[in-house]
């Protein structure tokens, strides 16, 4: 067991060393290294953007803008935080901008592109329920609608903190660092977000 743990620690250390090597190569202009870096993180970046913005088109924009910013500014990365934190800071800032603009526009797509064509988010939520049980399906649909409403009612910052903590599993300290705020402020955001959702979801949970 101890040996496994030591192995895991060594593996993480090696991964960090390798990543630093890759980043240095990108800073020297190595395009293959840039591709390697993109592929290491792009799925989680897209997932984060998709869940925060609930729109594939916006997630696609965020993906491109985020990695272009990385490409243009990688020479300024000084290894004083992890690359993950640096990248997520970029991504969350872009997402926050999108969410703020959306608050003004008050528009949000309910349709998500999937491999099988466009699917309504609520429909996909329903699919996770028991198809054979109409009562269960109705309940799932109600919860899904309410969750969308609840998420829509959060401020951009609350939504970001909630997404990073609940879905991405990041610690509030790291989230505070990413958003340029304190752990305490992130904690308050998470608390408010959870409270708001409980109010909106009411008797369904």
């Amino acid at each position: 067991m101890l040996q496994d743990a030591a192995g895991a620690v060594s593996a993480r250390a090696v991964a960090k060393v390798d990543e630093a090597t890759v980043i240095r190569a990108v800073q020297r202009g190595d395009q293959d290294a840039f591709e390697q870096l993109v592929r290491a993180y792009d799925q989680s970046v897209l997932r984060l953007a998709m869940n925060l913005l609930r729109s594939p088109e916006d997630a696609r924009d965020v993906y491109q803008e985020a990695f272009l910013r990385v490409y243009r500014n990688i020479h300024t990365f000084r290894f004083d935080c992890s690359f993950h934190t640096w990248l997520y800071r970029i991504v969350t800032n872009i997402c926050l901008d999108h969410l703020r603009k959306r608050k003004v526009r008050r528009e949000e797509s309910a349709v998500v592109e999937t491999a099988d064509g466009p699917v309504d988010r609520m429909d996909s939520f329903e699919q996770e329920g028991t198809h054979a049980n109409p009562e269960r399906r109705f309940w799932n649909s109600q919860v899904g609608n309410r969750i969308e409403t609840a998420l829509g009612d959060l401020t951009p910052r609350e939504r970001t903190v909630f997404e990073l903590r609940h879905y991405q599993g990041l610690r509030l300290r790291a989230i505070g660092e990413m958003l340029g705020t304190s752990e305490e402020a992130a904690k308050n955001c998470l608390f408010r977000a959870t409270q708001k959702m409980r109010v909106v979801l009411g008797d369904l949970v």
């Binding site: 390697q36 959870t194 959702m197």
Partner: protein
């Protein structure tokens, strides 16, 4: 702790974001207070409902994002192409020079961007040219020029260009379809596009029981310049690590591959089906390996096989 304080702390307690002493106090309170326990259950139900509401981006969206990014990077890299946008022949020259340039992936869309632009401008010219002008072939939106066969000026000041055109076609089918598999095997060898190769190998990796697919995976493991593709191909060979050809290739990878991650995976596959040659391969690797972690994995493997770490 009062009920009010506990209820307020439950969301943060759920996420493990309270201090250890507060955590203890909450747990003690929950042990004795039914109302707060009920609140705690509601917190867990809320989290479970939210968990079921997570969206996963479809693979096609990720592929599109990667493609868009590659194009955008190319445009960043090659401002000259943007500047020459009013000159289709400039784009044309760029297209061909970039197609022949040895492969950096983020530059590959050069050809596509330039040729699409050429098609666009040519289409515009076609619209304004008098009847009988012969650039009409460019107007097809899916057509791309693959090579120029001949250029012949005539006495009237015109020029006749003979070219080969390739056309994009979308084919869909199930993975067990023989023709789809054949296309995927061809795509796994697509020299200019590691993105296509990695996706194809990913799809083929569970079909290693076919000798043809296994041959493609073996080829990818030994020859693909992209470590991501090589790792995917190794995953596909996992179930066949006892096969003599696969073992021979794994030993070769172990001693020659430049990527430590690939070497580590090759070690794992080799030691999962040990044979007499495994020990000597690992001993040889230790002698030349400069990566500490790979060396450590080798040493552990040899010890587990009761073999000496060095050769005498």
């Amino acid at each position: 702790m009062t009920c009010d304080a506990v209820v307020k702390s439950l969301p943060l307690y759920f996420y493990g974001e309270v201090a250890p002493d507060v955590e203890d106090a909450i747990e003690e309170h929950l042990g004795t207070c039914a109302l707060c326990r009920e609140e705690w259950e509601r917190q867990k139900t809320l989290a479970a409902a939210l968990d079921r509401h997570v969206l996963s981006p479809p693979a096609a969206l990720l592929a599109e994002c990667r493609h868009d990014l590659a194009r955008a990077i190319y445009r960043e890299e090659m401002p000259a192409v943007r500047r020459s946008a009013s000159d289709p022949w400039g784009l044309f020259r760029e297209a061909f020079s970039s197609l022949w340039r040895p492969g950096i992936r983020f530059r590959q869309p050069a050809g596509a961007v330039a040729l699409i632009a050429l098609g666009f401008f040519a289409a515009r010219f076609t619209g304004s040219w008098p009847a009988g002008a012969s650039l009409a072939g460019f107007t097809t939106p899916d057509a791309m020029v693959s090579s120029i066969r001949s250029v012949q000026p005539d006495n009237t000041g015109s020029v006749q260009i003979s070219l080969d055109e390739t056309r994009r076609r979308v084919i869909s089918g199930r993975l067990d379809d023989h023709n789809i598999q054949r296309l995927l095997m061809a795509a796994a060898r697509e020299q200019d596009n590691p993105g296509v190769r990695v996706e194809s190998v990913e799809l083929l990796k569970n079909r290693g029981s076919s000798a043809a697919v296994r041959a493609v995976l073996l080829e990818a493991v030994t020859r693909d310049p992209n470590p991501g593709v090589r790792l995917k191909a190794l995953e596909g060979l996992k179930s066949f690590a006892g096969d003599a050809d696969v073992r021979k290739t794994l030993a070769q990878v172990l001693l020659k591959d430049q990527n430590a991650g690939v070497r580590i995976q090759a070690i794992d596959l080799l030691i999962a089906n040990q044979d007499a040659a495994t020990v000597s391969t690992l001993q040889t690797l230790i002698g030349k390996e400069d990566n500490n972690y790979v060396r450590m994995r080798c040493q552990n493997a040899l010890r587990n096989m009761n073999a000496s770490v060095g050769t005498f």
